[in-house]
Every structure is written in structure tokens, then in C-alpha cells.
């Protein structure tokens, strides 16, 4: 009987060990699921943790925090053993023989009646395979764990949390790397909108450097040292771009953008004229339209030709050349802005101006007579964020009564730009030529057409409408 009791004891040990193992696995799966859920639910607040702990370790931290509670609550008790054995009895219809035998073994009972129970239980349980009889059954937490893990990894991969929390963390102090990443993203957006290839490339490189710094949690001082190399690279690129495009160095940023818009309009005009009328009528048509494109006209005059003597192909190649030059100049200036931004970053913490000056160029810039000579003032620093009002108005040249005032700016949601005219009212006439107004509208239309706000199907209609404005006037 002692050998039977020993066999039974081993069988019970095997069964209970299997049940314990299942319990542990279940607890771990539950913990894992809840840790991932907690990490996902607290995603908006990860920005504040970013300096202390990498986002990869947030679920692990939650896991560690919750583990004592779950492990304590789910620890194996003697009642769990009884429950497991009662389950065996129910499954094998043993009428609590297994449970009674287990307790009798625990109590080392040797009465004849007890031995009878052990004998009958032993007969029924000899061939018991706990793993086959009581297979694993996973709870919903276990089933959710893997999809949640994938979701978490996906969010990390696409960097969802950081973009989200960057809006919530306006008041939190940002590291140099974070500021650089923010700037590089704005730079890329601007470069994409304006077709500036070099700037786009540089923007991407800067973002990579910044992300590396954030991931490695590099200190500001060390990161600044790393940035020195990037600053030199930008300077070299800007220099080479300037050497290639000497044309527009004296033009203002706005003039260059106007020129690009006019070039686009002129190309469309050439295409329409080519399709609608004969080549002979092109010269007259072209001259009429040129009057409505002031920046282009200026360039023609600078080149010493009004375009009437040029063939259509010559005209097209001339326009392409101008476009290339204008783009190159914008690229150069953007790179220069980036270089100055990096300088500002490097000076941070050394008593220099702080974050308030760190803005993307373009939006804060206004016409100035000597725009070609850039200095370290507000006008050539990165612009304000969209939707933010300027804290102070830029200083303006004295308004002369009787002279034409040309107001340029973008109309649209979120952007607030324009000129505030300050002048004493005096006698005289104030007028703006129709050509300039039309050119201004056309520029605005060009900008709007490049955005996604205008439906694709309507772009052509709108473009034709603005082109027809000049024609209608004639």
C-alpha cells in the first residue's frame, strides 16, 4: 500500500505542479496585457517621462509596478490545490475520491477505511495525464496581449506619442535635440512646399541627428558639440548654392516667391497660347501679359529683352533658367537660416537669447531694400508658429502720402501676416495699380493651389480664372 500511496503522491504532485504552472502563465499574460494597456492609455503623458525613461521601457515599468499586486493576489494557496483536485474528481467522476485521498495522504492516515480510499483513488488516477486532461485555456487578457504589443510597437515606430505630446508639453522645457527636431520638421515642410531640394535634404539629416540625440538621451552640451559638424556642413552647402546662383542675391524673399509664382503663371500662359492660337500671335499676347507680371518683367528688363524677339522655345528655356535661379537662391537663404538657427542653439545656455528667437524663416520676413545683406535680426530668423500672433509689429518704413502702397500677405486660417501702416493722414492720393493687385491675388492663388485645401478637380478652373483676370482687362 505504501508504494501505491507513493505513486498517488507523485501523481498529485504532478497535477498540482501543472496547475501552478498554468496559473503563473496566466498571471504573466494578464500582467503583460494590463501593462501594455496602461502604457497605451498613458501615451499622451509620455512626454513628461521622456527625459527620465525611454518609451520602450514604459510597459516594463508598468509591469514591474503591477507585478506585486497580481502575484500576491494570484499566489497558490492550499484551497487552490483542493479546487484543482475537486476538478479532477468532477472530470473523472470520482466522487471526491481524489480530494479525500490527497487529504488523507497529507494527514498520513493509515486506517483501513483511509487505505481503501487511497486504493480506489490510485486505481483511477494511475493513467492520469494532467497536461492532456486539463489543457491550457487562455483568458481574454492573454489573447489581447499580442495585438496590444503590436499596437504599441507600431505607435513607437511611427512616433505617434511624441507628436501628440509635443502639443501638450508647451510649457515643459525642451532639450536642444527636441528643439532641433522640431525645427528640422518645419524646415522639411517648408522645403517640400517650395520645392527646395537641398533644404529638404538638410532637414532630413537634421531630424536624424536630433532623433539620435533624443533616443540616446544625450546631454545638451554633448549634443551641441555634435552639432558643430552639421553647422559646418550647412555653411558649405549654402556657400556652394550661392556661388551657383548669383542672380537674385539682391532680391527680397518675397520678391523671389513672387517671381516663382509669376513664372508658373507665365508657363501656363505659354501653354494656353500655344494650344489656342498660332505662334505668331504669341508675341503680342505675351507682351500684354508681361505687364501684369512685375517681377518677371523686371528680370526681362535686367536681361535687356522684353521677350517679343524670343521664340517660344527660347522663352521657355529662359523661364526655366529663371526658375532654377530663384529656387537656388531660396534654397541658399533657407540653408542660411538653418545655419543661423544652429548658431542660436549652440549659444543657448551661454546668456544668449533663448527659445523665443528660434523660429523658421519666411513668415516673419518682410520686404526690405537691402535684403541681400542678411544680419542677425528678427527678419532672418525662423518664422512664428502657425496661428500665433506676432508679439510685436515689425518696424516699417515711413509711409509717403501719394505713393502707392502695396500690401502683400497670405490670407488663410491660422496665418496672420501683413503690414500695419503707420502714417499721419495727409492730403494726396493713395492708389495701387490694378496690375499689382492682380499679381498679388495670383500669387495667393498659386500658394493656395499648392495646398490640399483646394480640391484637385477645381485647381485647373481656379488657375484659369486668375489667368483670365489679366486677359479680361485687356
Amino acid at each position: 500500500m505504501s508504494s501505491e500511496a507513493e505513486t498517488l503522491r507523485k501523481k498529485f504532485a504532478e497535477l498540482l505542479s501543472w496547475e501552478r504552472r498554468k496559473r503563473r502563465e496566466q498571471i504573466l499574460a494578464t500582467l503583460f496585457c494590463y501593462a501594455l494597456l496602461a502604457a497605451l492609455l498613458t501615451l499622451p503623458f509620455h512626454g513628461s517621462l521622456e527625459m527620465v525613461i525611454s518609451r520602450w521601457f514604459i510597459p516594463i515599468s508598468f509591469f514591474g509596478l503591477m507585478a506585486p499586486f497580481f502575484l500576491g493576489r494570484g499566489r497558490w494557496r492550499s484551497s487552490d490545490s483542493a479546487r484543482a483536485l475537486a476538478r479532477v474528481d468532477k472530470t473523472l467522476r470520482l466522487d471526491e475520491r481524489a480530494l479525500t485521498a490527497w487529504e488523507l495522504l497529507e494527514r498520513n492516515e493509515t486506517r483501513a477505511a483511509a487505505l481503501m480510499v487511497l486504493k480506489q483513488a490510485g486505481e483511477k488516477l494511475t493513467n492520469l495525464d494532467p497536461k492532456a486532461l486539463f489543457r491550457r485555456s487562455w483568458s481574454w487578457q492573454a489573447y489581447c496581449a499580442f495585438p496590444l504589443l503590436l499596437l504599441w510597437l507600431g505607435l513607437l515606430w511611427f512616433d505617434v506619442g511624441l507628436r501628440f505630446d509635443s502639443d501638450l508639453q508647451l510649457s515643459a522645457p525642451k532639450s536642444v535635440a527636441q528643439k532641433l527636431r522640431e525645427f528640422s520638421r518645419e524646415l522639411q515642410e517648408k522645403a517640400k512646399n517650395e520645392g527646395l531640394r537641398e533644404s529638404l535634404r538638410m532637414g532630413r539629416e537634421l531630424e536624424q541627428v536630433a532623433q539620435k540625440g533624443i533616443d540616446a538621451k544625450t546631454g545638451d552640451e554633448k549634443f551641441k558639440a555634435d552639432l558643430a559638424g552639421m553647422q559646418k556642413k550647412i555653411a558649405t552647402m549654402g556657400k556652394s548654392a550661392g556661388e551657383q546662383q548669383p542672380l537674385s542675391a539682391a532680391e527680397s524673399q518675397q520678391d523671389l516667391m513672387d517671381l516663382k509664382a509669376e513664372l508658373e503663371a507665365a508657363r501656363d500662359l505659354l501653354n494656353i497660347a500655344d494650344a489656342a492660337k498660332g505662334a505668331q500671335e504669341l508675341g503680342k499676347q505675351w507682351l500684354d501679359q508681361l505687364a501684369t507680371l512685375p517681377q518677371l518683367k523686371k528680370q526681362f528688363e535686367r536681361e535687356g529683352q522684353a521677350g517679343q524677339s524670343l521664340s517660344q522655345n527660347d522663352l521657355k528655356s529662359f523661364l526655366d533658367k529663371l526658375d532654377k535661379q530663384a529656387t537656388g537662391e531660396l534654397d541658399r537663404r533657407t540653408l542660411l537660416d538653418a545655419q543661423q538657427f544652429l548658431e542660436q542653439l549652440m549659444k543657448q545656455g551661454q546668456g544668449e537669447k533663448g527659445e523665443s528667437d528660434v523660429r523658421l524663416a519666411g513668415q516673419g520676413e518682410r520686404d526690405s531694400p537691402d535684403d541681400g545683406e542678411k544680419t542677425n535680426n528678427r527678419s532672418n530668423l525662423p518664422g512664428k508658429e502657425p496661428g500665433k500672433r506676432e508679439a510685436e509689429s515689425p518696424s516699417l518704413p515711413e509711409f509717403q502720402p501719394g505713393a502707392a502702397a502695396h500690401i502683400k500677405g497670405l490670407l488663410g486660417e491660422g496665418n496672420s501676416s501683413g503690414l500695419v501702416l503707420k502714417a499721419k493722414p495727409s492730403a494726396g492720393k493713395s492708389e495701387v495699380s490694378q496690375d499689382e493687385v492682380i499679381a498679388s491675388y495670383r500669387r495667393q492663388a498659386e500658394v493656395e493651389l499648392n495646398t490640399e485645401r483646394v480640391p484637385e478637380g477645381l485647381k485647373e478652373t481656379i488657375k484659369n480664372y486668375f489667368l483670365s483676370l489679366g486677359i479680361g482687362k485687356e
Binding site: 500500500m1 484551497s79 471526491e96 479525500t100 487529504e103 477505511a113 487505505l115
Partner: protein
Amino acid sequence: MEAVAEIEARMQRARRSFDDLKAEMARMIVGHEDLIEQVFIALVCGGHCLLEGVPGLGKTLMVRSLGEILSLSFSRIQFTPDLMPADITGTNVLTDDPSGRKIFEFQRGPVFAHIVLADEINRATPKTQSALLEAMQEQSVTVGGKVHRLENPFMVLATQNPIEMEGTYPLPEAQVDRFFFKLLLRYPTRDELARIADFTTAGPPAALREVLDTADILQMRQWVRDVPLADTVKDYAVRLVLSTHPQREPGKEAAPLAQKFVLYGSSPRGLQSVILAAKARALLAGRPNVSFEDIRQMLLPSLRHRLILNLEADAEGIGAEKILSEVVERVAEVS
């Protein structure tokens, strides 16, 4: 090994005896199989039963048949309001001894039998009821300062008529508690009624065969107590009994019906009854141990007369059966 073989033989014998008893009873009594089992369980546990049912359901016949099959002496006492304690226990009468001297001799009452049928026990006065109940508890009667031992085994089967309550003396709760089981006799089904008609109107009644004797019953009483009971199963019975109590302490959970309608829950005697009956049930089923099902099956007959319900329960027609059913549903086998 020999001991185990002996236990195995004992179990087989108990089971066979019970099967024989059931077969023999079935020749005389139609239906009531569960009732016969419970009466036999009470007998092998040394308890007494309170039978409740309308007249004519075969209570007396069943008890008489049981006595015949078990070769036990049987007596019947019809309880009436003018029945005196001495009519039950017996009394000292003046008589002449062989030398002609006048002496008091104890004349034994009907209680001196193995099986006593106390018919309509609630019709007698409390004083007479007490005399019987004392005999049930002590297994002896004292007359004239002399203790007279009752038969062993001794079992009282008292009956109550639930419909005629006028002029009756309901048993006090403390005395009802002394009954091991309270059993309800249900009305026969259509088929059973047809069989009863055949049994009683065609031919003479069958002669019953003895299947057990006094010694067998006393031996089985010992075997019942040897049946092993797991602590987990015992704990289940304890929790069931505790759940019949309306919990007054916060944090302790009671069945909602018990909480609302029970004035006093089961006494510890109720727990003893449940466990002992469960052991007997296991033995008669040829099992070496008590199961959860044994406990559940024995809960109702053991506890239904031990719950003291409040007036609200009476008004709403809630009985002990309903409360106990809810208790069984709510209490988990393993806590």
C-alpha cells in the same frame, strides 16, 4: 491489505443489504424510494424521524414493514389530547409477588420497542410529548426513581398532519431539533396510485422476508462513523450550515433569503446530522468516502425543521426548502 479487503467486503455487504431492503419494501410500499432510503439512513445513524404528510399515504404501513424486514419489534402510539406520559413510558402497578406480598412492578409502555410510531404527535399535550422526546434523547425512561433502558437500536418515527392544526400542540423548536430528519410524504403519482390499487385490492398482502437483524444494524452504525471525510467536504457542510444564519456582522455574507426570512439558523445538531447522514449515504452507495453530493442530498432532510423562520416568511409563503435551495446554489464547494 487484509484490513482493506475487510473494508471492501463491509461496503459490499452494506450496499447489498440496503438493496435487499429496498427490494423488499417495494413489495409492500409503492413509491417513496427516497423516503425509505432516508428512514434507513436515520436508523443506521441512530436518529429519529419526523414524518409530515396527509393521512392515508402509508406512513404506518411503511414503519410496520420496516420493522418486519429488519426483524425489529414495533409499536404504535396514537397521540391524543388525553394521552398521559405514563401511557407512553409505562408505570409501576401494584401486584402480588409469588409469596403473596404486594409489590410495585414496572409495566413497560409502548416506548419499549425498537421502532416506535408516534402517530400525530402534535395532538398530545406538551407534557406527554416531552416524555417521548426525553426517551428519544436519553434512550431510557425513569419511573419511580428507577432508570429503564430502552431497546437498542431504538428509533421513533413521529408523524404530523399538516392540514388539521385545530386542537393540536405544535412541537416546540427545541424538541423538533431532536429529530435527525424531517421527511415529507408526497402524494402518489398516477402510476403509483394504480399500483397501490392493485397491491391492496387483489390478493393477500405479501409476506416480507427479513434481510437484516439487530446486530447488523448496530454494526452498520459503527461502519458509518468510520467513513473518511475530507476536510474540504466538511468545510463545505460547515459553510452551508452557517449560510442558513442571518448574518448580523458586516462583511459576512449570507444567502439573501436567509438574511430576510430566517430568525434563527440551524443548530450544531443540524451539522452533525448532515455529516453523519452523508457518511451513511456514502456507505450505502458502496463508496469509501463522502462526496459533495452526499452533503447536498442530506441537507434538506437534516435542516428543514431546524430553521426558524419569521412572520414575514409565513406571510410570503417562503418555506425552509426554498431558503436551503438558495443556500446550496450560492455556497461554493471549495472556498
